[in-house]
Chain length 193, copies 4
Amino acid sequence: MQGPDKDKGQAIIAAAKRIFALHGYNQARVEDIAQAAGVGKGTVYEYFSSKQAVFEQVVDAGMSQYMKGLEDEIRRDASPATKLRQIAVLHMKFVTNHQNLANIIIADPAIMSPHRARLREICEQAQDMVAGVIEQGIRMELFKAVDTLLATQAFFGILSSVGVSHLVRQQSRNPEEVASLAVDLFLYGLVTA
Amino acid sequence: MQGPDKDKGQAIIAAAKRIFALHGYNQARVEDIAQAAGVGKGTVYEYFSSKQAVFEQVVDAGMSQYMKGLEDEIRRDASPATKLRQIAVLHMKFVTNHQNLANIIIADPAIMSPHRARLREICEQAQDMVAGVIEQGIRMELFKAVDTLLATQAFFGILSSVGVSHLVRQQSRNPEEVASLAVDLFLYGLVTA
Amino acid sequence: MQGPDKDKGQAIIAAAKRIFALHGYNQARVEDIAQAAGVGKGTVYEYFSSKQAVFEQVVDAGMSQYMKGLEDEIRRDASPATKLRQIAVLHMKFVTNHQNLANIIIADPAIMSPHRARLREICEQAQDMVAGVIEQGIRMELFKAVDTLLATQAFFGILSSVGVSHLVRQQSRNPEEVASLAVDLFLYGLVTA
Amino acid sequence: MQGPDKDKGQAIIAAAKRIFALHGYNQARVEDIAQAAGVGKGTVYEYFSSKQAVFEQVVDAGMSQYMKGLEDEIRRDASPATKLRQIAVLHMKFVTNHQNLANIIIADPAIMSPHRARLREICEQAQDMVAGVIEQGIRMELFKAVDTLLATQAFFGILSSVGVSHLVRQQSRNPEEVASLAVDLFLYGLVTA
DNA sequence: GATGAATGAGGGTTCATTCAT
DNA sequence: AATGAATGAACCCTCATTCAT
């Protein structure tokens, strides 16, 4: 699968990420990716077995990077609220960086269907980590005894939605600031005290 | 282009909604849609000018139905919090009903690109309506003086995320209950009082 | 009795002649013909078994009309040159009236292939008639002893070419005048005496 | 193994010329052309943007070859009658070689409609050249003071008609001989001196 | 290894024909 | 008889994939 020249493989992944995000999976032609990577069309097949495989590598690379960052934050010694704040920044950056790859995966059920189980597993791992933080907060009586799964999904939902809207569409604020405001809302709610 | 038999056109729209949601735009063959609607492949073209047009009609039908419901809720005489609660139920039902059509639109930039401007306008109308409710709450000093745009996006983000996860994947709870829990979280936050 | 059926069949033939001449065989849709004839699409199939059959009827109608005129001219008591002059006017009117139907037949080998033999037979009948006139002229030592087949084809070639150019494209002169000039050229040649 | 690009493009043109002449434009499937050229269906689209474009290239190739020959004859130092005789041979060969491509163009108004203006221009150039020769003959008082446009059209009409009949249908004589007989008729007419 | 010319399966779309009303 | 909604065979074209250089 992996050709010997790691740099070229990475260049193709990077190019593919841009092209997929820009045009969507089906509208992205292998030739476009090759051109964006500065290689010939056939070269893509030296490094990856198929267009599908390129996409999976793009997703895998993004996810593993994300998971690595997530694990680091979780392992850190901090209060649950602080951890959520840090994870929020991480997630916001991820959303900003990977634009709509996640949507491609969701929207095109045929894509990654062989790998979908593993992808879901990874997502669930991420959710479990955050759920763990929330449970910790609940045990410490800092958080209400809500349904942790629902809260976790709400957490990601807020961040993704706000992230896409604020960062992709308007680049007026930095990710940290937006993440902070979103987490405030998540932690303290909309209603006045 | 529009044949006189409204029922058949509606049947095609309904079938197309299922097929698009199931397979994604590109993997959905016109023949699949025709078969699902119980008509011949050519009949689809008696009612719609193209596959693209079918998709747009599917989206339009869903959106106009949604907007109609939203306007009804907004116009109702109720407290901002109650309005948000009602809108949440509406949105949750919409997400449940339309599954990942929204994601298809987001993920495939080429789809609906001529109509994208109008679609965005509709979405912004919906956001403006909810933003109006939140502003009203802020003026009444019921809500904190947050960035209303950010809060609105967070509101939709929570509902969409929770809706997809809870309702599409696990159908253990009814939309009303899940919407209520999500809104509680949005209004009162995670942190204990 | 002149039932309404006959009228409708004739109307379809007349409409088809216009549509075929205007768009060519393949670009002429059965629906176009039906519409031009002021009837429903299905009605065409009440009178003709297929699009192909409609075209054949159009051609047959034109040819039999043409042949009838030709026979009348041949039977007339006149000098060979005068006969050719009369036939030329007839042919020029035919070309004007039927525009490019002949070209459609020639250009689309699949069209009328079952009937092509008969069509060729009719054309050859027409050629034989004119060839007979030329032979008569040769026997009377009014015409040179040329290859009658070649002369006949030249006769039709001049008339068709001049007819299409002068009458279809520029309608400045009447068929009789143009036919007369063309026949002068055919009879007396270009070179000065 | 495989020759350079140009050869394959030329092979496709040559194959297309045969297939179009044999079946007509619409009945000629792209796959037929590809097969006749000994290439895959997709290869046609490596060299030409569409079926339409293939046809236009076929026509262009034929026309430019024809025009080149025509110009050479015109430029030659010879009497008008001799020039016409040479042009006649050229035209007869062209008709023989290109069979009914011209008819396809005439019969199918939709074909080449974007290029029709240019095609007509080319035809008019050819007509103008021949008209020039005839005018020269008239000025030299070798030819009668006829309408040159009409004479030119008659010239082409004789040659095309005789060419198609004699050469395509019966291949008993060579083009030069037939052309010569046709020109004799055109120059000296049918009537005895 | 790197390339891109060659390939053909697949699908959107048209339209001649049918048939229930 | 007359209609036009319904149908599906046919065909152009795209683009992922292969392979000879």
